[in-house]
């Protein structure tokens, strides 16, 4: 069990900068999820942490010890790979025992450790099998088991669920969560799936183009995204954005004007901006409602997606743009319907030119938890 501290970590491949200075504090026992689109540097960061790649610049501390340049095993980390990376010529037992054997642990101890871990993961009946004789889910467990037996200070997971089918993914996700609660170990987990991030993480690190975009608890990121990128990344369907201009800048009640000339009221501090500045309004699909009388919009339904308990309405609002609404599953709308809907001023988000979020006033849900 250990804390991990990253201090201005940079990575260059040749002349290409991949990571531009990452700072991160991970507490003992924390489950941290690195999330971002492919190519954002999250997997590279994980490989730097593991010691498989050298850190170009910056300091990495595990338990307050600087571990740059130390080999993976000496850092006390264990890694679960996306492909599982099981040794194809070794049976499950040997796969799990390999690290301990290399470390020169005595046979008795190794056997005990492996069997204990196998029981915990319910794969103790598979110890004689070769990886190719296992199902995807079983391989996944063996890969986790191989990490557990070494009692690492930090677990690194590289998209461990992405090779599983949908139902197995949900099940394994739940089990991973339970396993973490049981082991109480520090976990760093890379994924591109926001559901995994929201459900598993104590803390989520959103990465974009080699930088940390925002760090926070799952609900923090949802309620208080600091940038348009984070706002668009967390939430499903993703947040709608409409281009607009400041009509009246104000520290509390900002007025915005859409392309069509429609005026929108938002409880946002826009005192730093001036009338006429271009901004993006963010509207979450779940915050718009047909009954709400504030900020009325109107448009034509172009498509409906019924998910059972709720439906997604795709609405065309002419020159104002297009929106997705999340509405109750019991609605009777049809494509082509003309509908009206509204959104409370406190529910709106506003992003300036550079994609930075403006402060929301009285954001009526939980305040940002300080990190």
């Amino acid at each position: 069990m250990a804390s991990v501290k990253l201090n201005n970590i940079k990575k260059r491949f040749g002349n290409v900068d991949v990571l531009h200075g990452i700072d991160l504090d991970i507490k003992d026992g924390e489950f941290v999820v690195l999330i971002g689109e492919s190519g954002c540097g999250k997997s590279t960061l994980l490989r730097l942490l593991s010691g498989l790649e050298d850190i170009s610049e910056g300091d990495l501390y595990i338990d307050d010890e600087r571990v740059n340049g130390r080999s993976p095993a000496k850092r006390g980390i264990a890694m679960v790979f996306q492909s599982y990376a099981l040794y194809p010529h070794m049976n499950v037992f040997k796969n799990m025992a390999f690290g301990l054997k290399i470390a020169g642990k005595d046979k008795h101890h190794v056997t005990e450790k492996v069997i204990e871990a196998a029981k915990k993961l319910k794969i103790d009946h598979l110890l004689d099998r070769l990886p190719r004789e296992l199902s995807g889910g079983q391989r996944q467990r063996v890969a986790i088991g191989r990490a557990i037996v070494r009692d690492p200070k930090v677990f690194l997971f590289d998209e461990p669920l992405s090779n599983l089918d949908a139902s197995l993914r949900v099940q394994t996700r739940v089990e991973l969560g339970k396993l973490h609660q049981e082991l109480k170990s520090t976990v760093i987990y890379v994924t591109h799936d926001q559901v995994e991030a929201m459900t598993l993480g104590d803390k989520i690190v959103v990465m974009n183009k080699g930088r940390v975009e925002q760090v926070g608890a799952p609900l923090d990121l949802y309620h208080h995204p600091k940038t348009q990128f984070v706002a668009g990344f967390i939430g499903s369907p993703k947040m709608n954005f409409l281009p607009a201009k400041i009509h009246h800048a104000d520290p509390e009640n900002t007025q915005l004007v859409l392309e069509s000339g429609r005026i929108i009221h938002a409880s946002i501090d826009s005192s730093a901006l001036q009338k006429g500045d271009a901004v993006q309004i963010g509207l979450r699909p779940e915050h718009m409602s047909l009954d709400c009388t504030d900020n009325r919009f109107e448009g034509t339904v172009t498509l409906l997606e019924h998910l059972g308990e709720l439906s997604y309405l795709y609405v065309d609002m002419g020159q104002e743009g297009e929106l997705v609404l999340k509405v109750d599953g019991d609605n009777h709308h049809q494509a082509g319907d003309h509908i009206q809907f509204g959104i409370k001023p406190t529910h709106l988000y506003l992003f300036d030119r550079d994609g930075k979020a403006l402060n929301r006033v009285n954001a009526h849900l939980s305040p940002a938890t300080p990190l």
Partner: protein, 319 residues
């Protein structure tokens, strides 16, 4: 051919009376199969039969296994036969001891991560493999010739001059030297095949062993080597077949007599002499066929051993 067509006909008749005769099958398979059967399968089988006959004075008569008994026991034949067979095993041993280990080392070095110029090395080291064995034989004959003295001078330059000898001309060293030459030429094949297998091992598996704490030697020994064993086994059987079939190198460098004093005689050259004759001995098709049959059996046994013991035990790995 005929019974194959009949097979085709009966099978299609069973399934559907009205189905027309599958001419397209004859069209696609016929020409290739015909040439292969007439010029490869039939001659091989015919050779096996021929080895049971004696053809003298234009008369051929069935003699059963007499040709083989002559080969193995008759004094004029058996000495040459056993000599060639033993030499051939030595020749094979030289390849196994040198060609495959060197190929393995080169392949491992070539596959080191982030190695610059790796494809250039690969292309250049493979170059001799492309040349005709005959040409390679002559090239080395010139290089090792005491007349020219290139090798001798080279050895003096590195301080080993007193060890130089006309290796190709001495009974004791000629076969080993030819073995070295052949290894020099063909080391590219094990190198390339092992290299390909190494490339196919996913990086993740190597990474996993690094994370598990293995150093590069342990990673090689515990992970890579077991995974390339099937390739090494396959290279070995390819080498076996090629060695027991070798002829050109000996013929080019030492002629059909495989001198000095038959010390470089292999099954291939022995077969050639038996079939076409040499000096005072007349060539004999049936004795030639008998030698070829023995070569066939040796190769067959080798391949079978490979298929049933090695191939079955060493599984291929799907990644």
């Amino acid at each position: 051919m005929h019974y194959i067509l009949r097979y085709v006909m009966t099978s299609s008749n069973q399934h559907d009376e009205k189905k027309p005769f599958p001419w397209h099958l004859v069209f696609f398979l016929g020409p290739g199969l015909l040439i292969y059967v007439v010029f490869s399968v039939y001659p091989l089988l015919d050779t096996l039969f021929l080895s049971l006959y004696d053809e003298q004075n234009g008369q051929s008569s069935f003699v059963g296994l007499q040709n083989f008994i002559t080969l193995i026991t008759d004094e004029t034949w058996s000495q040459a036969f056993w000599n060639a067979l033993v030499n051939n095993f030595k020749f094979f041993a030289i390849h196994m001891l040198l060609q495959n280990p060197i190929g393995l080392i080169l392949a491992v070095l070539l596959s080191s991560p982030k190695l610059r110029l790796s494809s250039t090395y690969r292309t250049l080291i493979f170059m001799p493999t492309m040349l005709s064995v005959v040409i390679v034989g002559f090239v080395w004959q010139l290089l090792l010739s005491p007349l020219w003295g290139i090798s001798e001078n080279f050895l003096y330059d590195i301080g080993l001059g007193q060890y130089f000898d006309a290796w190709l001309g001495k009974e004791g060293s000629a076969l080993i030297t030819l073995g070295f030459i052949s290894v020099w030429q063909f080391v590219g094949i094990p190198m390339m095949l092992i290299y390909a297998t190494l490339l196919n091992i996913p990086d993740d598996i190597i990474d996993a062993s690094v994370v598990d704490g293995a150093n590069s030697f342990q990673t090689f020994w515990h992970i890579k080597l077991p995974l390339i064993l099937p390739t090494i086994a396959m290279v070995s059987i390819l080498t076996f077949v090629a060695n027991f079939n070798a002829f050109e190198l000996i013929y080019a460098v030492k002629g059909a007599l495989a001198g000095p004093n038959f010390s470089t005689d292999l099954m291939g050259t022995f077969f050639y002499r038996t079939f076409f004759g040499f000096q005072l001995q007349q060539g004999s098709a049936s004795m030639g066929a008998a030698v070829a049959t023995l070569m066939f059996l040796i190769i067959l046994v080798g391949v079978m051993l490979f298929l049933f013991f090695i191939q079955r035990r060493i599984q291929r790995f799907q990644f």
